[in-house]
C-alpha cells in the first residue's frame, strides 16, 4: 500500500496501537492489566458480533456458542495434551475448525428465517451447547469446570497481554479490510435492503452464511484467548449473558464501525471494574447493571449509531440512520 495514500483514520489507529504496546510498561498493577486483557478479548468478541449485527443486520442471541467452542477447545486440548506451545496451536486449529463447521451448518439452517425467529433459534442452539457442556461431564467437568496447565511462555501476563493485543490488532485491521471489500459492501447492502439486494442478483443467503462463518471464527478465537487468560473454563462460557454483554458493547460503542465495539468493550469492562470497586462505598454500586442498562436504552433511542457512529456522522455530515428492519410492521 502506498503510504501517502493511506487514510487519515488508518494513521490514527496505527498510532493508538503503538501506544497500546507501551501500556503494560506503565500500568503494572496485576488487576488492571488483567482488566485490559479482558477488554482486548471482549473487543475481539464484540467485533465479531458487529460483523453480524452492524454489517449484515442480523441479531444473533447465540453468538456465545462460538466463544464457548473456542474456550473449551483450548481447555480440553491443553488438558489432554502436553502443556506446550505446539498444543496451543493445535487448540486454535481445532477451535477454528469446529467453529467453521458449526457456523456453516447453523447459518444454512437458520439464516433464511425472519429476524426474530433467527434470534430465537440461535438462542436455542447456544442453549443446547450449554446443556451439552453441563451434561458431558467426562469432557467438560460439567458446571464446575476445570483448570489446566499452560506452557511457561503463555503464563506470563506480559506475554499474554502482547498476544491479546496483537490478535486484536490483526483482527481489527483484517476485519476492516474485509468490511471495506466488495464483499463487505454487499453485506451492508443486505443490511439496508435485503429484498433489493436479492433482486440485484446477489445470493443473499450465501453472503449471510459467509458473514456468520467469519463472525463465528473470530468469536472462537476470542474464546481461545479467554480460556487462556483464565487458565480455567466452565459452562459460563456458553451463558446467554455473555451474548447479551457483547450485544450491549456493540450497540453502545456503535454498530457497523468495528472501532465502536472495541470502545464499547472498554467502557463496559472499565465501568464494571470501577463500579464494582465502589460497592464498599454504597451497595447500590453492586447494581451497576441498572446504570448500564439505562445508558444502553438511551443509546438505542437517541443515538442508534452508538458513540462512534454518532461522532462519525457528525464529522461526515451524513444523515443518521439506525438499525432498521425493512419489513413494514404495524403501528408507527
Amino acid at each position: 500500500m502506498n503510504i501517502r495514500r493511506m487514510e487519515k483514520s488508518t494513521w490514527i489507529f496505527i498510532i493508538i496501537s503503538l501506544l497500546l504496546f507501551i501500556v503494560p510498561f506503565i500500568v503494572t498493577g496485576r488487576s488492571m492489566q488483567f482488566t485490559i486483557i479482558q477488554i482486548f478479548i471482549f473487543a475481539i468478541f464484540a467485533m465479531s458480533y458487529d460483523i453480524l449485527l452492524g454489517f449484515t443486520g442480523i441479531i444473533s442471541f447465540g453468538h456465545v456458542m462460538f466463544f464457548g467452542i473456542g474456550a473449551y477447545s483450548t481447555a480440553v486440548i491443553m488438558d489432554r495434551m502436553d502443556a506446550t506451545v505446539m498444543s496451543f496451536f493445535v487448540a486454535i486449529l481445532i477451535a477454528v475448525f469446529i467453529a467453521v463447521i458449526v457456523s456453516f451448518i447453523v447459518g444454512v439452517l437458520t439464516l433464511r428465517l425472519k429476524s426474530h425467529f433467527y434470534a430465537m433459534l440461535t438462542l436455542a442452539l447456544a442453549g443446547l451447547f450449554l446443556v451439552a457442556a453441563e451434561k458431558w461431564r467426562s469432557l467438560t467437568g460439567g458446571n464446575d469446570g476445570f483448570t489446566f496447565r499452560l506452557p511457561e511462555i503463555l503464563r506470563d501476563s506480559h506475554n499474554l497481554y502482547m498476544l491479546c493485543l496483537v490478535s486484536l490488532l490483526l483482527f481489527f485491521f483484517g476485519l476492516r479490510r474485509f468490511t471495506k471489500s466488495p464483499f463487505g459492501r454487499v453485506l451492508m447492502a443486505i443490511r439496508e435492503n435485503e429484498a433489493r439486494t436479492e433482486s440485484l442478483g446477489y445470493k443473499v443467503l450465501h453472503y449471510k452464511v459467509i458473514a456468520s462463518v467469519v463472525a463465528g471464527v473470530v468469536a472462537s478465537i476470542a474464546g481461545v484467548l479467554y480460556a487462556l487468560s483464565l487458565r480455567f473454563v466452565n459452562t459460563g462460557v456458553f451463558a446467554t449473558d455473555l451474548t447479551i454483554d457483547v450485544l450491549l458493547m456493540t450497540i453502545i460503542g456503535g454498530v457497523g464501525t468495528l472501532v465502536g465495539p472495541i470502545l464499547g468493550a472498554g467502557l463496559v469492562e472499565f465501568a464494571h471494574h470501577w463500579l464494582s470497586g465502589l460497592s464498599d462505598v454504597h451497595w447500590i454500586f453492586d447494581r451497576w447493571i441498572i446504570l448500564y442498562g439505562t445508558v444502553y436504552i438511551l443509546v438505542v433511542i437517541f443515538f442508534p449509531l452508538g458513540i462512534v457512529g454518532t461522532i462519525q456522522s457528525k464529522l461526515t455530515n451524513r444523515p443518521v440512520k439506525g438499525l432498521q428492519d425493512n419489513r413494514k410492521a404495524v403501528g408507527k
Binding site: I59, H116, G127, L128, I284, I289, G293, D325, A329
Partner: protein
C-alpha cells in the same frame, strides 16, 4: 397407566402456567407486532409484588390483585417510555426491550434484596385429592382452571366484542381505524397493559407453584415465553395454548423418562419446529 395420567396432569398444569406467561406476549405481538423481551421482567415484578403482599396480608387473592395491578402499571410505563419510540421496528424493539429487561431484573434486587425467596401456597390450595390411585395436587388443578378461564375470556373478548374488533382492525389498518374516530394509541396502550398484567399474573401463579423466586427468573422466563410463542406461530392465541401445553407435557414426560434431556427439551422443540415449519405450528406464511 396411573403414572401416565399423573404425568399428564403435571404436564397440563405446567403447560397452563406457561400459557399464562405466553398469553401476554402473544397478545402484544399478535395485535401490535411488538417483540417484547421485557416480558420476563414484568413477570418477576408480578411474582415479587404478589408474593410480598400475599405474605403481608395472608390473602392469596390480594397477592394476585396486587400482582396484576403492578403489571398494568409497569405495562403503562413500559409502553410510553420504551415501546413508543420503536413501534414498527423489530430490531430496535428486540434491542431496547432486552435492555429494559435487565434493568427491571436488577431493580428487583434493589427493592426486594438479591437473595432468593421461598413461597408457600395458601392453605386452601395446599394438599391434594385422591382419585383412585391418582394424586391430584390442588394447586395444579387451580392453575389449569385459571389458564382455561383466561383463554376463554380473551378469545371471547377478541372475537365477540367491539373492543376486540377494534383491536384486530387496528392491527390491519391503523389509519382507517383512526379515521373512524377511534383513538388507536389509547387502544394499543391498553392492549400492552393487559399483556403486562397477564405476565404479572403468571408471575405470582408461578411463584407459588415453584415455591421459590429469584431475580434471574426474569430473563429465563422472557426466553421461555418467546420459545412458546415461536413454536405456536407468533401471535396466534390458540397456537400459544397448544404450544404451551406441548412444552408442558414434553417437560413432564422428559423429566421422568429422559431426565438428561429435560433441560434441553424446550430448545429442542423450538429448533425442530423452526427448521421444519419456520412460521411456527399455527403461524401464517
Amino acid at each position: 397407566m396411573d403414572l401416565i395420567i399423573s404425568l399428564t396432569v403435571n404436564g397440563l398444569a405446567t403447560g397452563m402456567l406457561i400459557f399464562l406467561l405466553a398469553a401476554g406476549l402473544t397478545l402484544i405481538f399478535g395485535l401490535m407486532s411488538v417483540l417484547n423481551f421485557a416480558h420476563g421482567g414484568l413477570f418477576i415484578w408480578g411474582a415479587y409484588t404478589g408474593v410480598w403482599s400475599f405474605q403481608m396480608t395472608g390473602s392469596f387473592i390480594v397477592g394476585i390483585i396486587v400482582a396484576i395491578i403492578t403489571g398494568l402499571l409497569l405495562g403503562l410505563v413500559t409502553e410510553r417510555l420504551i415501546i413508543r419510540p420503536v413501534y414498527g421496528n423489530h430490531i430496535q424493539q428486540i434491542l431496547i426491550t432486552l435492555g429494559f429487561m435487565l434493568v427491571l431484573q436488577e431493580f428487583i434486587k434493589v427493592v426486594f434484596g438479591p437473595d432468593q425467596k421461598a413461597v408457600f401456597p395458601p392453605e386452601i390450595l395446599q394438599g391434594s385429592f385422591l382419585v383412585g390411585d391418582i394424586v391430584l395436587i390442588k394447586y395444579r388443578l387451580f392453575i389449569i382452571a385459571v389458564g382455561l378461564l383466561i383463554f376463554i375470556v380473551s378469545s371471547f373478548i377478541l372475537k365477540r366484542t367491539r373492543v376486540g374488533l377494534i383491536v384486530r382492525a387496528g392491527v390491519m389498518n391503523k389509519e382507517m381505524v383512526q379515521s373512524l374516530g377511534i383513538n388507536i394509541k389509547l387502544v394499543f396502550m391498553l392492549v400492552f397493559m393487559v399483556g403486562a398484567g397477564l405476565a404479572a399474573l403468571s408471575g405470582i401463579m408461578h411463584a407459588v407453584y415453584s415455591g421459590v423466586i429469584y431475580a434471574e427468573m426474569g430473563l429465563e422466563f422472557s426466553i421461555l415465553a418467546f420459545i412458546v410463542v415461536v413454536i405456536g406461530g407468533m401471535g396466534s392465541f390458540s397456537g400459544s395454548l397448544f404450544a404451551a401445553i406441548l412444552v408442558g407435557l414434553a417437560q413432564a414426560f422428559m423429566a421422568y423418562y429422559v431426565p438428561a434431556l429435560s433441560l434441553a427439551v424446550n430448545m429442542l422443540l423450538m429448533t425442530v419446529v423452526l427448521i421444519f415449519r419456520p412460521q411456527g405450528l399455527f403461524g401464517k406464511e
